[in-house]
Symmetry: C5
């Protein structure tokens, strides 16, 4: 009996009862990795659902179940039922358009995060992937949409037995997962910083319409990053208040570190935002300046040639009695006059600093 609220693809108000995947269409096979460890040993396994068995949580050990792919509602439901998840939790796991959040379901904590990755092809579009984590004493469930390897280094740390990982409980493992997601934000931030420096040069040296579009593309990426980080800051703060019994006191210090990182990222985004608005000013005034340049050229040309053409048109008139036309030196005199006027005009233009 599971409530569904697949808001975007379904009619509103429909009867709940089936989990509906919301998000990008994915078809890769769902993989479930089982890792069980204590200070002495690590057991790794893979589960095949819906038919396979899922291990029980045993005291003194940490069980980590990582699910690659949430597009198969049946699998999620099976996992959920085995480990006692609330229907709304399962619904949120399969709906990948969630906002990052932390929810306390009393017997467990439920986290939704957005893992970011940069595509390597030019244009560097930001990819978002939803990561859900459930923390129970002795158990961590993690779900991700695609098949990125965000958590490979953590598995490595568990295997190697170095660091605190094997000595601590599920809350420390969860911290490590959160930290792995947040650390990727710094990579995105770094790329944004480089883009901003490129753009700052471009805006001053060779601004064009493409520049504007690149600025706005960057702003969009900043927005995505901010939407991923902002709620995380909030919930890291809530976690570190230490009110949940699931989080150990000694882990709280590490969560404060996560909170710090989130604040630092938001801070940098604010700085980038200010720099971006500065770039927009420079861009817009450079358009205006270029207009000024063009207008100056036009005005210089007109100022030079309109009076001269007027003079020559006078002596192109066909009046019978135009004494200048008979003068021996009339023509050279007019040419000299024109030259003088031309030089005078140029002088005035120079004086106005248009050349």
């Amino acid at each position: 009996m599971i409530g569904s609220s697949a808001h975007i693809t379904q009619l509103p108000g429909l009867s709940p009862g089936t989990l509906v995947h919301v998000g990008k269409t994915r078809s890769h096979p769902v993989r479930i990795r089982l890792v069980q460890f204590d200070e002495k040993e690590v057991r790794e396994d893979e589960a095949v659902l819906p038919d396979g068995e899922l291990p029980r949580v045993s005291e003194g050990r940490v069980l980590w179940i990582h699910v690659d792919g949430v597009h198969d509602p049946e699998t999620i439901e099976k996992v959920g039922v085995v480990y006692g998840l609330h229907p709304l939790t399962m619904e949120d796991i399969v709906n990948t358009e969630q906002r990052p959040k932390l929810e306390d379901y009393e017997t467990y904590l439920f986290l939704v995060m957005k893992a970011l990755s940069l595509e390597s092809r030019p244009g560097s579009r930001l990819q978002t992937e939803q990561v859900s984590v459930i923390i129970k004493p002795g158990l961590v469930l993690s779900f991700q949409e695609g098949n990125g390897n965000f958590f490979a280094p953590i598995l490595e740390r568990i295997r190697s037995g170095r660091g605190l990982m094997r000595k601590r409980g599920s809350d420390y493992l969860a911290y490590a997962l959160i930290d792995a997601v947040v650390d990727r934000y710094f990579l995105v931030l770094e790329t944004l910083g480089e883009t901003i420096e490129d753009l700052q040069d471009e805006v001053v040296l060779a601004p064009g319409t493409a520049t504007l579009q690149r600025i706005h593309a960057m702003k969009r990426e900043m927005l995505i990053l901010r939407r991923a980080v902002w709620p995380l800051r909030e919930f890291a703060y809530n976690l570190l208040l230490g009110e949940s019994a699931i989080i150990d006191k000694s882990t709280v210090l590490f969560l404060r570190d996560v909170h710090d990182h989130a604040v630092q990222i938001i801070d940098s985004i604010e700085t980038y935002r200010e720099m971006t608005s500065g770039m927009l000013d420079v861009y817009l005034s450079s358009i205006n300046n270029r207009m000024n340049e063009i207008m100056k050229v036009l005005t210089i040309i007109a100022t030079l040639f309109m009076p001269l053409t007027f003079i020559s048109s006078i002596y192109g008139m066909n009046f019978h009695y135009m004494p200048e036309l008979q003068w021996r030196w009339g023509y050279p005199a007019v040419l000299i006059l024109m030259a003088l006027i031309g030089v005078g005009m140029l002088g005035i233009i120079r004086a106005r600093k248009w050349l």
Copy 2:
């Protein structure tokens, strides 16, 4: 004895005593649907007011009374008196220009929401309809302005007996009603998202005055959506604090879901808003760029032809002693001079990257 405050159509300060409908003129007959259910059975009926009878609330059952149309004050008053509503509640039900809100009248909770729907005709104008819900133990009263079928799927779920609906109390039914209203916001949001993508193409490829007006039309729709959602977020939060005795603990989790959705919508609107302001920048700079284009053409034309016309006007002068005019190759020489000047000017223009 009911206070009226039909603010807009009446003189202020008038004596209270009659309920006055405020809002769009409606004339469809008011329908009152009665649904009574417990885990075993469902009874449906329709009431004809003001003469008909209204059922009593009986323990162990949930009574849902849904009123289609609030433009008949007499009907509302009858319902209100039977179920013990405060005069101000009745006043708010008939005044359809309310802001969404939650009010705790101790014996019941009173909710006002805005149901949104998109008209199917082109231009996709947003329609707002006020929905009021009253929650008492064992009783849910719902009122809507028009005759939309927002709640048909819920009736269906009651009939079918699937899900939690029949097993829970009036608070769960109320949650279902709120959820149905909120789910429609996602439809609106989706349409807004599509409009934004259209506009982003339009702004880059073929911006015009109509584009600007479409951007502002979209901003207005965003505003309507935001005004509907913002207070809802607030009151969903208040509900989930679980302070009201009318809301059961187990329903609080579902209300948290509603709150989440509201936050998610507000979040998306913020993103859209940023994107819109980006589009305005692009639009304005595209106007300036087009101006630059036009000015460039003008300047190119003038730069090319003004000097040339000046030269030909010189040899159009009628001085008697102009030796060049007698030269055998004078004419071709001038033509070649002009060609050289023309090519030179084009070269300068090219160098400035105007062509």
Copy 3:
């Protein structure tokens, strides 16, 4: 012994001791209306101050004293001394440049509000009038600057004995006065709404400098309305918290209604504000668009005629050896050439969508 702080017309720091009226000069005679009522009867009277007597507050009755005109400090002082008002209260009553506020002087509540009215002459300028209300058990004092009839309908309701008025205490009467003032804001809001719709048409169809000034005039009116409503929202909220012993529990619900209205007005103003900023965008871009139009015409004219004039100026040259001039079909050939160039130029212009 009354402190004065007639800030604007007096030197700062002067010795207190006299009440000084601050605000528009008024000279109409001050009228004092006395209304005493309980559930059974209503007694109305008029007092002549400073010589006349003022009635005492008697238990079981509500005494309402309404003063029309605060420009005569003597009268206010007399009233203040009789009913035990603090010097600062009296000072605030005669100083009509107060911000709306609520002050709790323990034995009474002191409210300052701004009553708004729209002048009927064209241009619809907003008029502000300060209304002060003092609430004591069994006593309501109200003061207004001018001689508007804001409270006539309330007197009517007292006389008629309908509604709750005669059954409730001074706090309900005070609520009715506040409500009468707030209801007038909706009239102003409605007018603003209409102005906005007019302006939206004007901005699209026939924008001019006057449009801009009308937009800003409207913004000013929005500002006045907001300044009147914003503090009222705050103090209505404080009142409805029900901490004052002077306000009865049953009146609190009505004050919540006032609070709601204030919030609703502020909300509408925010919407109008967004729409106004949209109009400014449209206006500014319409100026730019018109500039573009003008420049296009200029460029089209120049693009058409400069090359043509150049060609004809060539054949206006007086070289002796210009073979074309002798050709029989030279003239028509040139005309045809010109026509072709003209058509070609028009074609290019068309291709650029300038025509």
Copy 4:
């Protein structure tokens, strides 16, 4: 042993030990006025420091010591040591670049305010002067930078024995000092209001670069006023919470009045700010409109004369076979043609509403 932090003129981190005056260089002799009063008598005196004696605080009396000039650290130190001031308080008194603030040093309250005055010469630049006030039971110390007469009226009130001054303690005297400073803000506000009205006319009738600079000068003055008032509002609020034992309950009402005034000033500044941004819009669009005017004239001229000049240049060509040239009525016919084209062009221009 006094810590110094003369931040701007000294190297940071230097050893504390001497008070260093920070601010405008002043050289007028420091005057110390001693006023001691109770309900029966007033004793006035002047102290000569560093050699002179300072009176003791005696019960039942209020001692007010006013120091004109804080540029002599020795004097301040002497006063500070006699009346038991904390080193940081003394440091803040001589550093006249403080932000307005209220500090509770348990045995006394320390206030810093900014007294504003307008210079009478044209351009009306705002002058800021720092006023520090220390309130102890039975003692008020006040310090000001220059030799303005802000507090002369208060001395007058003490001498005359009218009002509450002589009946109340040092807290009421301190209130009177604060009130005298705040009342001066209203003068500044009034001047700002007048400047805004002038500017509004100027912006519509004769906008120029000077207008823009005047707008920004006014914004700067608004900023200074706001920086002086904003913290004052805050600390007046803190004072009126009545938590300090030094402030008597009956004085709290008067401090609420000060708080009200601060709020009112901030409110007005917000209004002025909105009006200013409106003026900037009008100014910028008037520049654009003037550009439009100029371009229209240019376009009209070109539209009229380019085609005409082209026609006449045609008949200026020297082809042998141009039949029109021989026609008897050729010349007048061309003139009429030109006139018709001119009129036609004017008609088109009219139709576009450019004339």
Copy 5:
């Protein structure tokens, strides 16, 4: 066993275990200065790590260990282990891209600040250096990136024995360190103030693209300063709440002073920000005004010469029957006509105030 999160240069999620320096590459040798003092004597020493010994904290004395350079993780780790620092603290010390913050690790307080300095070369770029301070009873550890002499004056004060330094505990020493960092901000602020005044002149007298870039460079510096000060204000506030047992009551007053300074700096930055946005307005309108100037010249030239050239082109036509051409005074008459038209045009231009 120390967790590393060198976010920017390492792959995310790596196993912790080594401290990794993040920030500018530095290679100067790490110096460790040991200062131990009580009221009677001062002992100074230098430690050579990793081999050397570090002194113990002894009661009644203050031990100050200052580390110049954090790019050698081994040294930091040694210091950290000796004095019992948490791994996350050590990580934050070597990662110099922290945001200023205050962390309470129960046995000690950990502060991160940004020391600012201005490079003396033209362009005055702001240099940021991270300073970390750890406060324990009887012990202060301070770490800085480079080899600036921020704290030399404090060492001087300790040596000289003047002031409170030798009489107080480690919290007062820590306050002195914080104060030394904050005092440097005033120097930066002063430079910013001077730059703004320069820019204000430049914007009015000789605005160019470089001006815009200088404005934005200044905005960036303001941003850096604000990012350094803003969190400091917050944590100074937290410190002065006096909740930490490590901070003595008597030191709280000094921390209030630090808080005041931070608020004052933020306040000034806000003012500068408003002034900067004013400068941008002036700059943009000056570009537009210059465009207007150019367009005026163009229009004047065209208005003068187009009609005149048209007239002379009329008399350049070759019609056989043009009676004016035979007139004796035709030529001078046309010249006079042209002069009159020229003067008339100039008159119109003058009337429009374009000259």
